[in-house]
């Protein structure tokens, strides 16, 4: 039996910066996972991924990542995506650093 579909966000890396980005409901890209579109329908997810990949001129490697709804927007369910949205644990670099500088 096929496994039940779990909610997803579309994520990729920015072509120039290389950093982690997320696809929004408006079809733009955000660096904040909470602003990403949470997709709950499997067929819709594939269509949205095709839509995101149309922007391959400025992004790299778009894929569907498991996520769940949180109080402020989508949140990761796996530790890999948690690291991607935060940054490494040995230095205060990456997204955690960028957020601290806002």
């Amino acid at each position: 039996m096929a496994r039940a579909f779990t909610p997803k966000v579309i994520t990729a890396n920015d072509l120039l910066e290389g950093d982690v980005i997320y696809f929004t409901a408006e079809g733009s890209w955000t660096r904040n996972m909470a602003e990403a579109e949470l997709i709950t329908d499997e067929a819709e997810a594939q269509l949205r991924l095709l839509e995101a990949e149309k922007q391959n001129i400025k992004i790299v490697g778009a894929y569907l990542a498991d996520a769940k709804a949180g109080p402020n927007g989508p949140e990761p369910t796996h530790f890999r995506e948690e690291f991607r949205r935060t940054g490494p644990s040995n230095y205060f670099h990456g997204k955690q650093e960028a957020e601290a500088n806002v």
Binding site: N13, V20, V60, H78, F79, P88, N90, Y91, H93
Partner: protein, 554 residues
């Protein structure tokens, strides 16, 4: 050390200009990512978890002070102020921007460095004994041969699309510090009837299917090095599997076909290829050798060293762990640990790189080495200069006295950076080092190598660690398997798994229990962890790690 000639400079400048144009074409949309990716990988550019990564080769681990300063410049100007030295004598920058990378490559080129073939299914950076040219136990300096291999393999048209990556390591010493038995090809410079040649080992490797290399040729005359390597690669290109990425490395080719078949096919190919070599390579080798003339070591007194050793316990502790025997009287090989307790193994800041460059220039005949164990080496220092060197190192957080000890840990970048990783490895290394520093036990424990990989690809060499740690993803949670009894030297061995893995917060206590068993069971302070393990076997360690399972059996 080798200095680029006009041909080398022109080749590299052209290659960098090509890559600059490729980057522009990717940015303007003329190239898709599928088209661009193999091009960027050929130039050492990866896309990792948080950013691009640039991997720069440090051929056979040798640098001069100017090159080290260039590495510092890259860290400071285009990255976050540090670089990460890896287990393959490379340095990785974790945060470059795509547009900046061509400038970084140009800066490297001016210093005689490049990132070519640090990725992709090609012949990678040839690594060497980090004490090459300095060690007391060495037959001859293996680096001229490594440089010959670098020049032969760079852009070699037949070997740009191998079935899989291909790694060569070389040592000039019987004491293997280059892990030659865990490489696709391992070379040991040997002597037979007064002639220099090579013992050729093939089919070693770690990763998913760890194997210890086997002897392909007991003695290969020096002049036959390139044609023979070409034969080994040609056979691999024909015989190697391309249907399954996990069965594509030469270790699988050798093990599936048998070493005798591989040898027979290699010898046959060699006979055909040898005639194509007209001796030009040997002329080139002789020219290369002139670049590797050892400095003129003056016989030097050791009174200043002896006085500091007698009076300063901090210096003495450092000298006891971080110095190795040099071939010249009054000299020593000094290893600079870039593994201060609690810091990331292999990371050095731009400032630290400059300090090390200055020390090399002032005291060490302008030479530096990078080890696969992720440390930096001053290969030739006069013993009397060591107290001054130590004082400078101390002032810059570089005087950690832990070489060969439990906190001298190899760790791959793991899930903190690497797109392939299944778990973190850096924080595990940091916590183990911090814990044993708190316990003030590490000098008492003695020689013990811990090696940590954050996935099955084994960049952290966990299979050949005395204690190996492999981080995996078990149902969405980090889990760490332990192996014991691995050995990365001439007596190479693959470690044995202890049993079920440990959760992230259980791994440091598990290592502590292993060490407790060793301390309780060693027959004297002189018996190392590995010796004790070989004597008493796995069971006592298992009993300490899995007390519940033992109870059930009882």
């Amino acid at each position: 050390m080798y200095k680029y000639n006009e041909f080398d400079e022109a080749f590299l400048a052209e290659r960098n200009a090509q890559f600059r144009a490729q980057v522009e074409r990717r940015i303007d949309g003329s190239l898709t990512e599928d088209e661009f990716k193999p091009l960027r990988l050929m130039n050492g550019v990866y896309l990792q978890l948080h950013a691009y990564m640039l991997r720069v080769a440090i051929p056979y681990g040798t640098l001069n002070s100017g090159q080290m300063r260039t590495l510092a410049l890259l860290a400071e100007k285009w990255d976050k102020g540090y670089g990460h030295f890896t287990t393959r004598q490379n340095i990785q920058y974790n945060w470059p921007k795509l547009r900046d990378i061509p400038d970084m490559l140009d800066a490297l080129g001016e210093a005689g460095l490049h990132a070519i073939q640090t990725s992709g299914n090609t012949i990678r950076n040839t690594t060497a004994d980090h004490f090459a040219g300095a060690a007391a136990d060495e037959l001859t300096d293996p680096r001229p041969y490594a440089e010959l291999i670098r020049q032969w393999s760079t852009d070699h048209p037949e070997f740009q699309f191998l079935g899989r990556k291909f790694k060569i390591a070389i040592t000039g010493s019987g004491a293997d510090r280059a892990v030659i038995k865990a490489h696709d090809v391992g070379l040991q410079v040997v002597e037979q009837d007064g002639k220099i040649g090579f013992k050729v080992i093939v089919g070693g490797g770690l990763g998913r299917t760890p194997m210890i290399g086997q002897v392909l040729r007991e003695f290969l005359p020096q002049a036959d090095l390139l044609p023979y390597l070409e034969a080994v690669l040609t056979v691999y290109n024909v015989l190697g599997r391309r249907d399954n990425k996990y069965k594509a490395r030469i270790k699988i080719t050798v093990s599936e076909n048998g070493i005798d078949t591989y040898r027979a096919m290699t010898e046959e190919a060699f006979l055909a290829i040898r005639g194509q070599y007209d001796g030009t390579d040997q002329e080139l080798l002789e020219e290369i050798k002139t670049h590797f003339q050892a400095p003129e070591f003056r016989s030097a007194p050791t009174d200043v060293f002896d006085a500091a050793y007698a009076s300063d316990p901090v210096f003495r502790a450092w000298a006891d762990t971080n110095l190795h025997a040099h071939r010249a009287e009054g000299h020593a090989i000094a290893t600079i640990s870039i593994k201060a307790h609690g810091q990331t193994p292999g990371d050095a800041t731009a400032e630290q790189m400059r300090v090390m460059a200055d020390l090399a220039e002032q005291y060490a005949y302008d030479e530096l080495r990078i080890s696969h164990q992720q440390n930096v080496i001053l290969p030739h220092v006069r013993k009397n200069d060591l107290p001054a060197i130590h004082a400078t190192l101390k002032a810059h957080g570089l005087a950690t006295a832990n070489i060969g000890l439990i906190s001298d840990i190899i760790a791959c970048p793991g899930m903190d950076y690497c797109a392939l990783a299944t778990a973190r490895s850096i924080p595990v290394a940091q916590e183990i080092a911090t814990r044993f520093d708190e316990l003030k036990m590490e000098h008492d424990i003695g020689h013990l190598q811990i090696k940590i990989s954050g996935c099955i690809n084994a960049c952290g060499h966990h299979h050949v660690g005395h204690i190996g740690i492999l981080g995996l993803d078990r149902a969405g949670v980090e889990n760490y398997q332990i192996t014991l009894g691995g050995d990365a030297t001439e007596t190479a061995a693959i470690g044995t798994r202890t049993g079920p893995g440990f959760a992230y917060d259980e791994i440091v206590p598990a290592v502590e229990r292993i060490v407790d068993v060793y301390m309780a069971r060693r027959d004297s302070a002189e018996e190392t962890f590995l010796e004790t393990y070989r004597r008493i076997g796995m069971e006592p360690f298992k009993a300490a790690l899995y007390p519940e399972a033992q109870k059930k059996v009882a």
